[in-house]
Symmetry: C2
């Protein structure tokens, strides 16, 4: 099959770039030093490729991601790096033989984990991103409360998400400051795990015992800006459906690429705006109606979540088609 046979819009993954990204990351963070985050691709076929590179523990953002990973035989060590109140489905996974660790940052989330049948937790510590996580000085008390509730505390997590796109060298200095908080909390909490980091800080963060990077596999134009050695593996293939004297229109729009990080990029063209099912762009060289064009999204995670499937390609050849099987909640 060729990409010209695909219904557009279609998510394309360049096989060579993907494999190079996986190999580069595995060389830097081998085996358990990396806990790949599946939220960035939501695709068990891609997670299986990450497992083949030696990473058998995975990070998830939703209960659904845990369920589908476990069902695919990838549930040896799943971290739900997020707080959940409704833990019944997680408990069912544990009963079914998966290893599931969940983040807790409050008495309520500890009670929910215990009540739902989850046995292992990480204490989530706020290291500067204004989101989840307890204050660092409360982490020890929460660990005690979790143990009192019968839970095994594996350690801490703390996501320095606000630093991912900060340019070097500030990124390194700020990561050190954030991780100082986490390492101190880890001392209070006990346990072997210090889980943190992401694609932006994968080299800066030398304090975490495991890095939760996800975007490195497929990449996006936001991450491309910081100069890491990962290539743009993901694009959205579109068809030119209309050509006007001063612009052209693709059948790729808001419903096939996420706009939270801004407009997408088209090589050799200026993107003017996106509508639900359209991108209006100004090509440098004339394009014809029916031509296929690849669009690079600014943010990979929510773009992938809009698609039912992704196609692994080598040039114009479609090698495999993978269901994006971890969508929804």
């Amino acid at each position: 099959m060729l990409i010209s046979d695909l219904t557009t819009p279609a998510l394309l993954v360049d096989r060579d770039v993907l494999d190079a990204n996986l190999a580069t990351m595995s060389a830097a963070l081998p085996g358990p030093r990396l806990r790949p985050h599946v939220k960035a691709h939501k695709t068990t076929a891609l997670a299986r490729r990450q497992a083949a590179h030696g990473h058998t523990g995975f990070t998830c953002a939703t209960v659904r991601e845990c369920e589908v990973m476990a069902a695919a035989g990838l549930g040896a060590d799943l971290l739900l790096a997020n707080e959940v109140l409704d833990t019944r489905r997680l408990g069912a996974l544990v009963t079914g033989g998966a290893r599931v660790t969940v983040a807790v940052d409050s008495a309520e989330t500890i009670a929910a984990a215990a009540a739902g049948g989850v046995r292992e937790v990480l204490v989530d510590v706020n290291v500067g991103l204004a989101r989840c996580g307890c204050p660092p000085e409360k982490a020890g008390d929460l660990a005690d409360a979790a143990r009192a509730a019968g839970l095994h505390v594996r350690g801490v997590m703390g996501y320095e998400g606000h630093l991912m796109l900060v340019p070097a060298p500030d990124r390194g200095r700020l990561t050190r400051d954030a991780m100082e908080l986490l390492v101190r909390a880890a001392g209070d909490v006990g346990g072997a795990v210090i889980s943190a980091g992401g694609t932006g800080t994968y080299l800066d963060n030398t304090w975490a015992t495991e890095i939760q990077a996800g975007s490195y596999a497929l990449m996006d134009t936001a991450y491309a800006g910081i100069g890491h050695p990962f290539g743009q593996a993901l694009s959205v293939l579109g068809t030119v459906i209309s050509v006007a004297p001063d612009h052209a229109v693709l059948d790729v729009g808001l419903k096939s690429l996420a706009m939270d990080h801004g407009l997408p990029t088209i090589e050799g063209a200026e993107v003017r705006f996106c509508s639900d099912e359209h991108t209006t762009f100004v090509p440098r060289d004339p394009v014809r109606v029916g031509a296929r064009v690849r669009v690079l999204p600014a943010h990979v995670d929510p773009t992938v979540a809009l698609h039912e499937r992704m196609h692994l390609v080598d040039g114009d050849a479609v090698l495999e088609t993978w269901p994006v099987d971890m969508r929804g909640w």
Copy 2:
């Protein structure tokens, strides 16, 4: 079932507000004066409710929307108000008994319609939105070409999408200017149909024979700003998963609401930012972990496209659950 039983994030549709919106629109634009656009809800159960209000012709943006509408028995008069090059699946619908009219704006899209087995077209005219549509002065020639290719030309369409959120009275004046172009093109093209308009211009546009409004049914905060008599029927239900001294966090994020029109709104709170699965907000009154909060998205169409289902609710009671069955392409 109560909304407290739902897994979050969950799409809620307030039954009373929805029914009021449908009734208000049907009173203003009865029967064939409205051709509801299904792209705004992607849900045949909701389209069936629109049909019950007397609107039996529908507007679609994708081939998939046409297919699912036809399969649901709602294919009496479907307009695919978009250019398509791969028309084979549309031809199959026509063969299966659905009435499908497709927009054309070029020799290529006319050839595709004819080759794919579509029998009826509208000539799409650019009325000022820099997107699809032929120049008005070319519409007559395209109609001749379509007839020469064996197609029945039902008339014209022209979407004044750039005017939807313009405040009155400018919106009325600019709509008149745009529709002057379309009416003139309609004279050159022939046929009975002048299809145009949307929720923003549903009262301004008195030149179109049918209005393609969609957002009026569920609404969003962007459209709420122009003061039309449609209420916010749609919200995303979230659970408070973490509470910090200066903010709280919901399990609703970029993957459950679209950000292309900006941040969502929470009554009685200030939204700070959204991440993949989180909204960080500052509530006016304290909230507790586990509380349920409704989030109003800025743009309804791409928000709905992120969800597998929507729940029709009356207060805290879940009345029905509808699959969002027109997603994908």
